[in-house]
């Protein structure tokens, strides 16, 4: 029974969607070209995504799987044109067979081999070779992370402001910042029981954390609403043409 209503609802929405678009195409509001058809496709996908609000349904699932596939295809092609073609194919392979005025860059061979090794991860027998590539990339990442993080996120973040500043509000703020940083660090300190002074300070740390999470909460609500506003703008401006 319930399923029948759902199918009916879906059919009606589809019919309505078709009628509206045919009307737009006939009246010339949307051109019968790549742009006009593009807008119709985009609108169809947008609405299919929103159908999840009614309930999880086949239309949503089709749209989502299609999206996942297209995004992966796009990623592959973009990687070819932006990384593999200019950095490997044109630097190493083309100069081997054709005189381009540039000598083949033989040093490119090493990262290319390591890159290919990485793909052996899925082979049963040779997957151990992929570890060499991961070890290279992960070791490199770990090595550059340590001194740069010490510099940018620890030394640069430690401020030693005088608690008696130019004005009273500044002094209070300087004190609150010091208290906040210290108390949050103490909250994440696990080697001492949270009792007495430590317990009191870590309690203050929790308050600071909660205010910060509240700020993040407010900003996240704002972010999601902005996304929705953008999509609604697209629907009523680019498709329906109600606003400019």
């Amino acid at each position: 029974m319930n399923k029948k209503t759902d199918v009916l609802t879906l059919t009606w929405i589809l019919i309505a969607f078709c009628i509206v678009n045919i009307f737009f195409l006939v009246t010339g509001k949307l051109g019968f070209d790549a742009k006009g058809l593009g807008i119709i496709t985009a609108v169809a996908l947008t609405l299919a995504m929103y159908s999840f609000l009614y309930k999880d349904n086949p239309v949503f699932k089709i749209a989502e799987n299609l999206f996942v596939g297209v995004a992966m295809g796009y990623w592959i092609i973009i990687t070819w044109f932006n990384i593999l073609k200019p950095d490997v194919y044109e630097q190493l392979i083309v100069p081997l067979f054709k005189d381009t005025g540039n000598a083949p860059q033989y040093t490119v061979i090493i990262p290319t081999i390591l890159g290919v090794f990485m793909l052996l991860r899925f082979s049963n027998k040779l997957s151990w070779l992929s570890r060499w590539s991961f070890a290279f990339v992960v070791g490199l990442g770990a090595g550059i992370t340590i001194p740069n993080f010490i510099h940018a996120f620890i030394l640069k973040q430690l401020t030693f402001d005088s608690l008696i500043a130019a004005s009273l509000p500044d002094s209070i703020n300087n004190f609150l910042i010091l208290l906040g940083v210290v108390s949050v660090l103490i909250y994440f300190f696990f080697s001492l029981e949270h009792k007495g002074v430590i317990g009191g300070v870590s309690k203050i740390g929790v308050w600071f954390l909660m205010i910060a999470f509240g700020a993040s909460f407010g900003f996240t609500v704002m972010a999601r609403m902005s996304l929705l506003i953008g999509r609604i703008q697209f629907l009523i401006r680019d498709w329906l043409g109600i606003i400019q």
Partner: protein, 269 residues
């Protein structure tokens, strides 16, 4: 009262849809004063002489398009209007198309020439590795631009050897790339950095503002709207501020009303 708490969530969905759509249709203008965080970026770009080089990293993908694309467009308008040379790049494969179209469209609007006044370098992966490589030599990181031109011959890049030579770098991010730009770019190679990000990560950027590791911050559609106000070219972001206001009030009312019911019904589990 119990019943009020148990209403179908689809009724709430309808409220949200109405709160967003109606203000867009009836259009009322609300002032969007610029905060000092956004002004930091505006002032920096405004202070640059003609012909300066600005690098914009479009590190976002379609999922954050509605927040970051208006920001990118506003920023590009400002740069092109002031005759600043724009170099675009992205660390997110899904961002290439959006970045390319934004740069090209705004560039054309001001009659700027590709290769002469602006260039889109395209996508590279490896985040901090790309930044460090660009910090050593930008032509090593990007031997070709997005359309396949050799970067070494591009007139727009004349005078630019590495990141240090950019007069300003702006990262528009939906992920953790701002932190990476700070640690592996700005702090290692000393250049001025500005940031634009989704509102979700906006609050996490305040420690960097205070330590002056970034010169300014635009967060979310609100940040974009403030920038649009500053460059006096109001567009979709400013138009989005009236539904944004209405829907925030709605959510706040929901929170208050929900908690009111919760306490009235005796906070039962």
């Amino acid at each position: 009262m119990e019943r009020l708490l148990r209403i179908d969530r689809r009724i709430i969905f309808a409220f949200v849809a109405a709160a967003v759509t109606i203000p867009l249709l009836i259009k009322f203008d609300l002032p969007v004063p610029a905060t000092k965080e956004v002004r930091g970026i505006y002032d920096k770009i405004d202070s640059l002489p003609e012909g300066s080089h600005v690098l914009i990293a479009f590190d976002y993908d379609p999922a954050s398009k509605e927040e970051l694309q208006p920001m990118a467009v506003a920023l590009l308008h400002h740069c092109f209007k002031n005759n600043i040379k724009v170099v675009g790049m992205t660390l997110n494969p899904g961002g290439t198309g959006l970045a390319d179209s934004a740069i090209t469209e705004v560039g054309k609007e001001y009659g700027r020439e590709y290769k002469e006044d602006y260039v889109f370098l395209g996508y590279k992966t490896g985040v901090e590795l790309v930044m460090i490589n660009m910090g050593e030599n930008i032509y090593s990181a990007f031997p070709k631009d997005f359309s396949g031109n050799a970067t070494a011959d591009l007139p727009v890049l004349k005078g630019v050897q590495s990141l240090q030579d950019f007069d300003f770098v702006v990262d528009l991010a939906s992920g953790s790339s701002i932190e990476a730009w700070i640690a592996f770019g700005k702090e290692k190679y000393n250049f001025d950095l500005g940031a634009g990000c989704t509102a979700v990560i906006g609050p996490d950027m305040y420690p960097f503002l205070q330590s002056k590791q970034i010169d300014g911050l635009m967060s979310g559609l609100k940040g974009a709207a403030e920038y649009e106000t500053l460059i006096e070219r109001k567009s979709s972001a400013v138009a989005g501020m009236s539904p944004q206001s209405v829907v925030h009030v709605l959510v706040v009312l929901f929170v208050i009303f929900g908690n009111f019911l919760y306490f009235m019904t005796g906070r039962k589990k």
